[in-house]
């Protein structure tokens, strides 16, 4: 007990926010592993579901939008996008990552209420673990995308790969920030998880996943288009188009102007700001989690 006598009296229950998550990374690892194990318990296909679901989603969108609505470029449809399948899939996997991460993070605090009510541990662990689990589900999809790209003559430059990494970081920061915010709010108002569902539905369509950014620019004009561009998800999806789709085409379609010089830094800043906001809100609200759950 010698060391304890030297240590100071401390106030329990006052965490250091996300720094504590780093301190408890062993627990974070176990929580992530638990989620991965438990997710598909009792199912025959198991982790394969993580591939099947986006795969089917991709086929449905591709047939409905690419073929029926004519977004795919073909000899009879010159106005479409070349390699629409790649275009669509590179956006979809990023949106899926965001949807899963934010949806689960928003429910994570209420979902782990039993534990939070009884034992003190850094509560930020739960939203962070949700985002982490989603990232684990994201990587196999990324692999499929890369393989599909290679079949269509993918030759990315280093800059393009780095842009995709930046896009991934933008989505991760944004999902963690919003996950902390809505996860904490959900304790007080269960409406917030429904609000998140709605937000996620909008997010799918508010970024150029299914359609091309040029369509938005034509309809909205420059001013409103700039507003559309500030959305970090839009920027992240565009980085993925830039990294995965553009190198498979002849490059004539182009990417939004100033993507690298202006929009990626803007996206990183906005997401970092959201993370800071989420973290501050979370810390303000977490003191009363135990009695509100």
């Amino acid at each position: 007990m010698a060391d304890s006598a030297q240590s100071e009296l401390q106030t329990p229950g006052r965490g250091n926010g996300l720094r504590d998550v780093y301190g408890s990374r062993f627990l974070l690892k176990l929580l992530v592993r638990k989620e991965l194990k438990v997710r598909y318990r009792g199912s025959v296909l198991g982790i394969v579901w993580s591939y099947v679901k986006p795969g089917v989603q991709f086929i449905v969108f591709y047939v409905a939008l690419g073929v029926f609505l004519g977004l795919e470029q073909s000899p009879t449809n010159r106005g479409g996008l070349p390699n629409y399948a790649i275009y669509l899939f590179s956006g979809i996997i990023l949106i899926n990552f965001f949807t899963e991460a934010l949806g689960n993070a928003s429910r994570s605090i209420v979902g782990n209420g039993g534990l939070i009510k009884k034992i003190y541990l850094p509560r930020q662990l739960f939203p962070v673990a949700s985002v982490w689990v989603s990232a684990v589900h994201f990587f196999p999809q990324l692999l499929i995308l890369a393989v599909a790209c290679l079949f269509t003559g993918w030759h990315p430059s280093l800059i393009q790969v780095l842009a995709a990494v930046a896009g991934f970081i933008i989505v991760t920061l944004l999902a963690t920030g919003l996950g902390l915010l809505f996860g904490a709010a959900n304790v007080y108002f269960r409406d917030s998880e429904n609000f998140v569902d709605m937000l996620l539905m909008i997010a799918t369509w508010a970024s150029p996943v299914m359609y091309s950014w040029t369509m938005v620019q034509h309809k909205l004009g420059e001013t409103w288009y700039a507003l559309y561009q500030v959305n970090p998800m839009t920027i992240a999806v565009e980085t993925f188009h830039y990294a995965f789709w553009l190198p498979t085409t002849d490059g004539s379609a182009g990417i939004p102007p100033h993507l690298l010089s202006l929009w990626i830094p803007v996206g990183l800043l906005v997401s970092a700001g959201v993370l800071l906001w989420g973290q501050m809100t979370f810390r303000r609200l977490e003191g009363r989690f135990a009695q509100e759950l």
Partner: protein, 242 residues
């Protein structure tokens, strides 16, 4: 004596909220924040408590007297509305064993998960793993999913993980009623052993005979107030109305 736990004038109000909808809050805001959105009651009223290192303290009182709430403030799960709580060294709670257990994981996975939740490091769990399994008398079932465990096995494993966390301050809430009688005796012996080692112990229990055997000091709470603080036998006698 070095102070292990210092509770200074803490008060806690609980909100009795009937519904939890945005609509009600909105209506309340529209009406100019008139009235209270919710009813409140005091769970703890200006409670002071100083526990020295190595002391064994029982928190006694009827249901709803604030015992568990006080324990939650010491563990940091709750933050007081006013007043301060300070603790020295690592505090671990044997608060409702099995709170961190997941039914679909094996006993082994749960030992690691629960150990980490209670603040053990990876090395500590690895070192103590065999001892945990042995104490719980789980044997070959350690790799079975805990949902197939009998309730006794489940509690034994959870208790075993908790006592192996080795903190300076132990908080024990109503968990001494675990398993069959031989195991219960073993748990009590283990807790007495921890107390003999000089660990600080704070126990919440309704089993007055049991706590008299473990603790030296009794603190009686009534509706959020400390009404008695002294030797355990006097505290028990007071509670029994003798």
């Amino acid at each position: 004596m070095t102070t292990a736990i210092e509770v200074k004038g803490i008060s806690k109000q609980f909100v009795l909220r009937h519904t939890r909808s945005l609509k009600e809050a909105f209506v309340w805001l529209i009406k100019g924040r008139k009235g209270d959105l919710s009813e409140k009651f005091h769970a703890l009223k200006d409670v002071d408590l100083v526990v020295s290192q190595g002391e064994t303290v029982a928190l006694l009182g009827l249901n709803g007297s604030g015992k568990s709430t006080l324990l939650k403030h010491i563990s940091g799960v709750m933050i007081p509305d006013s007043g301060t709580v300070r603790t020295r060294g690592r505090v671990a709670g044997l608060i409702e064993v099995g709170a961190g257990f997941h039914h679909d994981l094996s006993g082994r996975d749960n030992v690691y998960l629960n150990g980490a939740i209670l603040g053990m490091t990876e090395e500590q769990i690895k070192d103590r793993f065999d001892s945990i399994v042995e104490f719980a008398e789980i044997g070959q079932f350690i790799d079975t999913e805990v949902k197939f465990y009998s309730s006794g096995m489940y509690l034994r494993l959870a208790f075993s993980v908790a006592v192996h966390t080795n903190p300076e301050v132990f908080l024990v809430d109503e968990i001494l009623a675990v398993g069959d009688e031989p195991f219960q005796k073993k748990c009590i012996a283990k807790i007495q052993e921890l107390a003999a080692e000089g660990r600080t112990l704070v126990v919440v229990s309704h089993d007055l005979d049991l706590v008299s055997g473990i603790c030296d000091r009794g603190v009686v709470l009534d509706h959020g107030n400390v009404t008695f603080d002294g030797p355990i036998h006097e505290a028990v006698a007071k509670l029994r109305g003798e």
